[in-house]
Symmetry: D2
Subunit: 162 residues, 4 copies
């Protein structure tokens, strides 16, 4: 079993860019994190996009959809900005026979304190243990994207009442 990891940008991969004193999307940090995590499973990483989550449009989501659908692995992780992660997750709901887990982080992985490494851990367990379907892995929870929202005030994802 090989786990396929698609990176699309988002806070997870942000760096501080001095030239304009702002954060930018940097190179994917997932390879460095997985090496630090000392993992024993096989994986492939592919950088699909380097976008802030709010800048994603339907063309981007179509591209992600096609990449996931045609990939030879049926265990798929997607690193994604948190602001439109739920939209992208819903866009993938029609893909059969694959376990798809989206996650990101509230703090860039390159900060001294960040939820990125932890979320990577939750997501890699979820993608191995769950049946086919689309899931979010944020804040130590595994959520159904049809019943989830980002609570901006708390800085956490939560299940909607319904």
């Amino acid at each position: 079993m090989t786990i396929k990891i698609f990176t699309t940008g988002g806070t997870f991969d942000k760096i501080y860019f001095d030239a304009n004193s702002e954060f930018h999307i940097g190179e994917p940090i997932a390879p460095a994190l997985l090496e630090e995590a000392n993992v024993a499973f096989d994986y492939e990483i592919e950088s699909l996009l380097k976008k802030d989550s709010l800048d994603m449009d339907d063309a981007d989501r179509s591209r992600i959809h096609a990449s996931v659908e045609t990939d030879s692995s049926n265990k798929i992780l997607i690193i994604h900005g948190t602001d439109s992660m739920i939209d992208s997750a819903r866009y993938l709901l029609d893909i059969p026979h694959k376990t798809i887990v989206l996650f990101g982080s509230m703090q860039p992985a390159r900060m001294r304190r960040s939820d990125a490494m932890y979320n990577l851990g939750v997501a890699t367990a979820a993608v191995q243990l769950l049946p086919a379907g689309v899931y979010l892995a944020m804040n130590g929870q595994i959520l159904d994207p049809r019943k989830a929202r980002k609570n901006h005030r708390l800085g956490k994802f939560e299940t909607t009442d319904t």
Copy 2:
């Protein structure tokens, strides 16, 4: 649902102690890691032991067994040194109706580079998703303690060929 976390020491909690230029088991770092991880689930942490895994004896394992068995939660995480983690896991196999996940780290959580935060992520997903039983969460894998060993040369846990 409240996840109960028992800490027992091990590499996970090691600090560098200048007075004798060696490591020691420090205070449990799990509370700080869970805050950094920005988790949304309820948990309780209890420090049972502060031991190097190789120093654990049957009295220690009895104590862990009793604590797990009588705890009101049926989702149990145990942070444990890696060298005798498998022995302790097997000692708990007779406990019914609880999902019990043991994990630790190869590098102390207080190192700049460590697998501790990642393993915490894997373990918290596993304890939520798996049925009752005893499991190990190391190196991004979920293992059955009856068929696992620590490969000291590779610094990784692996499944035995039974």
Copy 3:
């Protein structure tokens, strides 16, 4: 001897703020860094401003000038954004009898990789060893603000030819 440390904001104190996916100036991190550095000298820290260096105006510089001039210590450190650090340094050149060292960082102190802690070390040595005057401590160099510039392309401060 007590070293007085004035903080004014800048990259040094930046945090990543999820609500708008941008950096902000956070609380001064100098107290945490000095504790981590295990220093043995006496110091006082005072937060004067929380500004991006490019937003500083003459009113701000007057305020810094007054604070430095009237402070009871004659060893002064100023943590300052890098883009207008030289301007602020020149503004202080008329203050007699005090050793004044300005520094900041190219990467926020809260990043995993940052020059902040190192620059703090260079600056605290410089303020103890140098005679009265105004100095910059950046990139491991001690510079005269009348003959220094920030090389934006290299991301480093350098001495001007003259």
Copy 4:
């Protein structure tokens, strides 16, 4: 001006070595720290020894002495374990025409929290600013090795009352 940096081991370079669950002296981390510090001066790094400070003997000190004396640079940094740093510093007192600064750290540079990067900053400023002689740079202080001691209880260096 090129600063020459000799590494000799000590806590500064310690790693956690899982095979025997202890700390060991690892490869010199100074090159990585200087890159992270974004320094602009020229330097050369040479690994002389990889020893715990308490294991150093006169043969080691002779070797350090010879290396410093014959080096073409007259600005010398020595990264050294803290327990016998003062002895090694005194051994070098007869070397003329060179500014020699010894430093180390109480916590390994590879820990999340360490005084290593800060001490490197203090030392590199001291070696540039001080006249010929031998100095210690620890805890934000520049000390004369003939009048210094390590206070083990406080974990800090201090001046003796002679």
